[in-house]
């Protein structure tokens, strides 16, 4: 391993390299551009390709193609570009294509404030495209975690044959912190299952883990990449039974591995807790400091921080602490709050929405929390 000092954007790029990235297609957009710039310099030296496409639609479709050609691929963008990627997220879902999409959140709607932060895309990350599906989404709160969760995103994509979203934001992107970069063998790297050469392949026939081995191009598998609802052969199947079986498998294959996908941390949870803050991403950094400050002032407060935003593990979250009052702190109008309220239906759950273009100040956060104390 080696220790360095770098930004969240570069940590994402380094995480992707550690995970085995070989193809990156993207379109410049603030505040994500450094990811592509850094990879454009470094990835070709490692045998990979970086291409700047004509738009974000082309970028995400190109990485889906590259994944079918057998390599790990990624794109990064911000809100407006992420919106353009909507349809292709659905393509990656239905064709079970492992890809990683990084959305470095900035303020919206529309062009919004390109250079400033926000957490307003959390539900967009969940349900960007039309149709029924689950896409895992990780949300880092530090430079180190931007690196670690990017690796985890690739591992999840490869393990479950699914697109995975890394939801960073302008604060994490441009924050500089120490970063430990692992060498080969120091961190688990997962690679997709591929059928054996010469094997007769039924392209969408799942193994018992519900994941079909991926018949990548060029090996004589006669792969079928099908965006239509299809049966196990990959043939268009506009029938109730095929539709139900495909769409439910696409859900269950991820939920079955919720133990792997869902990750969180708690701080200072005990039987004494009266309040619990729930937060994630860059906002969790200030929420953590606010918790320490409130504890100093004598409040029995603890904190839960989500590392995985979607899918949430309701059981783990509801059992995380006995605190009777839950305060959900996020830099948007109160979006993850809706799910936390559902999960803690037997407790008092309060929204603590912030609309702050910078990382909110401690005073600002305490003020919002104070409303509910």
């Amino acid at each position: 391993m080696k220790k360095t000092f770098t930004s969240g954007n570069i940590a994402v790029a380094e995480g992707a390299i550690t995970a085995g990235l070989k193809f990156y297609a993207g379109y410049p957009i603030t505040p994500s551009s450094e990811i592509m710039e850094y990879l454009a310099e470094k990835l070709p030296r490692l045998g990979g390709v970086v291409i700047q496409m004509e738009d974000e639609i082309a970028s995400i479709n190109a990485i889906i193609g590259a994944s079918w050609a057998g390599v790990k691929s990624m794109t990064a963008t911000s809100g407006p570009g992420f919106s353009l990627m909507a349809e292709a997220i659905g393509l990656a879902v239905i064709t079970e294509t492992p890809i990683v999409v990084v959305n470095v959140m900035r303020a919206g709607p529309s062009t919004g404030v390109p250079t400033k932060t926000s957490q307003s895309d959390v539900l967009q990350a969940r349900w960007l495209a039309h149709g029924d599906y689950i896409v895992p989404c990780y949300v880092p709160w530090s430079v180190q975690e931007a690196y670690d969760l990017t690796i985890k995103a690739f591992n999840t994509a490869e393990l479950l044959r699914t697109p995975v979203i890394v939801l960073s934001d302008a604060v994490i992107a441009h924050l500089w912190e120490p970063l430990v970069i692992y060498d080969e063998g120091e961190v688990p790297i997962i690679n997709r299952k591929i059928p054996k050469t010469g094997e007769k392949v039924i392209p969408y026939k799942p193994d018992p883990d519900l994941i079909p081995p991926m018949p990548i191009f060029g090996r004589g598998f006669k792969a079928i990449v099908e965006s239509l609802v299809h049966d196990e052969r990959g043939y268009y199947a506009p029938r109730d039974e095929s539709y139900k079986s495909l769409v439910s498998r696409l859900h269950i294959k991820i939920l079955k591995r919720l133990d792997y996908v869902f990750d969180y941390e708690t701080y200072y949870c005990s039987n004494e807790c009266e309040y619990m803050l729930v937060s994630y991403g860059s906002t969790a950094r200030i929420a953590y400091v606010a918790m320490l400050e409130l504890r100093k002032r004598g409040f029995k407060v603890c904190m839960l921080r989500l590392k995985t935003l979607w899918p949430l593990d309701s059981e783990k979250i509801s059992k995380s602490c006995n605190a009777s009052r839950i305060i959900v702190l996020e830099n948007n109008m109160g979006k993850v709050y809706m799910d936390i309220e559902r999960i803690f239906k037997d407790r008092e759950v309060y929204p603590a929405p912030l609309l702050s273009l910078e990382l909110p100040s401690l005073r600002e956060v305490i003020e919002v929390i104070n409303t509910w104390l």
Partner: protein, 279 residues
């Protein structure tokens, strides 16, 4: 339905997923003619030891022509409307040993996918794009297409198309494509020979196939009968050796010139990236 009796096996059957036949194509549709010609070119290249069928990848977006990817017995992708070229770009850059063939209609390739077409040709990226022009959005029932001639009544231009058509040959000739040709389903031998040639060239290769669509487009122009439409198109098709770009205009009145409009030997995108050796 798979044909079991060897007496009935067509020499091109091995290119097809025969269990998916019959296709969804209407009587008189030109796509089968184009596909057959392409298969014969692939056959020839394969026999000559110049092409490994396992390295061929077909990519289509959405539309009747793109749906050919469902029937080919190769690695094949049926992806999003307009995005076949983007998908194909990722495929060939991730594995330069693959021979990527994009097939689609004029709506898929030059309408919704127009921006990707322009940039793929600008990059001279290593792929073949076969655009089957039927002058109409057929799968959705007969709406105006980028190639629909001025004045033609369609379901979305009931007073006549107020827009002059997009000439894709002229567009691509202005970019960096290594090969730009046009054939017609009334001249399948030219589809075959142009496609055969394209399979041996690096960089971006584009073949427009002017086709018949009696069911949908024929209805709009009074040529509903497949044989009549085929014959009417055939009358207008003129092959020219080395036609000029100006001759690429498509006109039902003065005729449609087919031939090889652009032949260049510029370094391809893969060559410039250093992914394959420059000869």
């Amino acid at each position: 339905m798979a044909v079991e009796n060897p007496k009935y096996i067509h020499p091109l059957d091995r290119h097809l997923r025969t269990d998916r036949i019959p296709t969804m194509y209407c009587p008189g549709c030109g796509i089968g003619i184009a596909l057959g010609a392409m298969f014969r070119a692939i056959d020839k290249r394969t026999r000559e030891g110049l092409l490994d069928p396992d390295k061929i990848v077909w990519v289509g977006g959405i539309g009747c022509s793109a749906r050919a990817t469902l029937y080919v017995n190769y690695d094949a992708a049926h992806v999003l409307h307009g995005r076949a070229i983007s998908f194909a770009t990722g495929v060939v850059l991730a594995n330069p040993s693959l021979q990527v063939i994009v097939i689609g209609g004029d709506g898929d390739i030059a309408g919704i996918g127009g921006n990707h077409l322009v940039h793929a040709a600008k990059r001279n990226i290593d792929m073949i794009v076969v655009m089957i022009t039927n002058f109409v959005y057929a799968m959705t029932g007969g709406q105006v297409a980028p190639t629909t001639p001025l004045g033609v009544k369609t379901t979305t231009t009931p007073r006549g198309n107020p827009e002059p058509p997009l000439n894709v040959i002229k567009l691509l000739a202005s970019l960096n494509a290594n090969y730009v040709a046009r054939a017609s389903t009334t001249t399948p031998h030219y589809i075959e020979s142009f496609f055969y040639k394209a399979l041996g060239i690096k960089g971006f290769r584009f073949i427009e196939v002017v086709s018949t669509c009696p069911e949908i487009y024929g209805r709009h122009i009074g040529l509903r009968d497949p044989v009549e439409m085929y014959n009417e198109l055939k009358k207008r098709i003129k092959y020219k050796q080395k036609p000029t770009i100006e001759e690429a205009d498509i006109s039902w009145e003065t005729g449609i010139v087919i031939g090889e409009f652009v032949e260049r030997n510029m370094p391809s995108y893969l060559e410039l990236l250093g992914k394959v050796r420059v000869e």
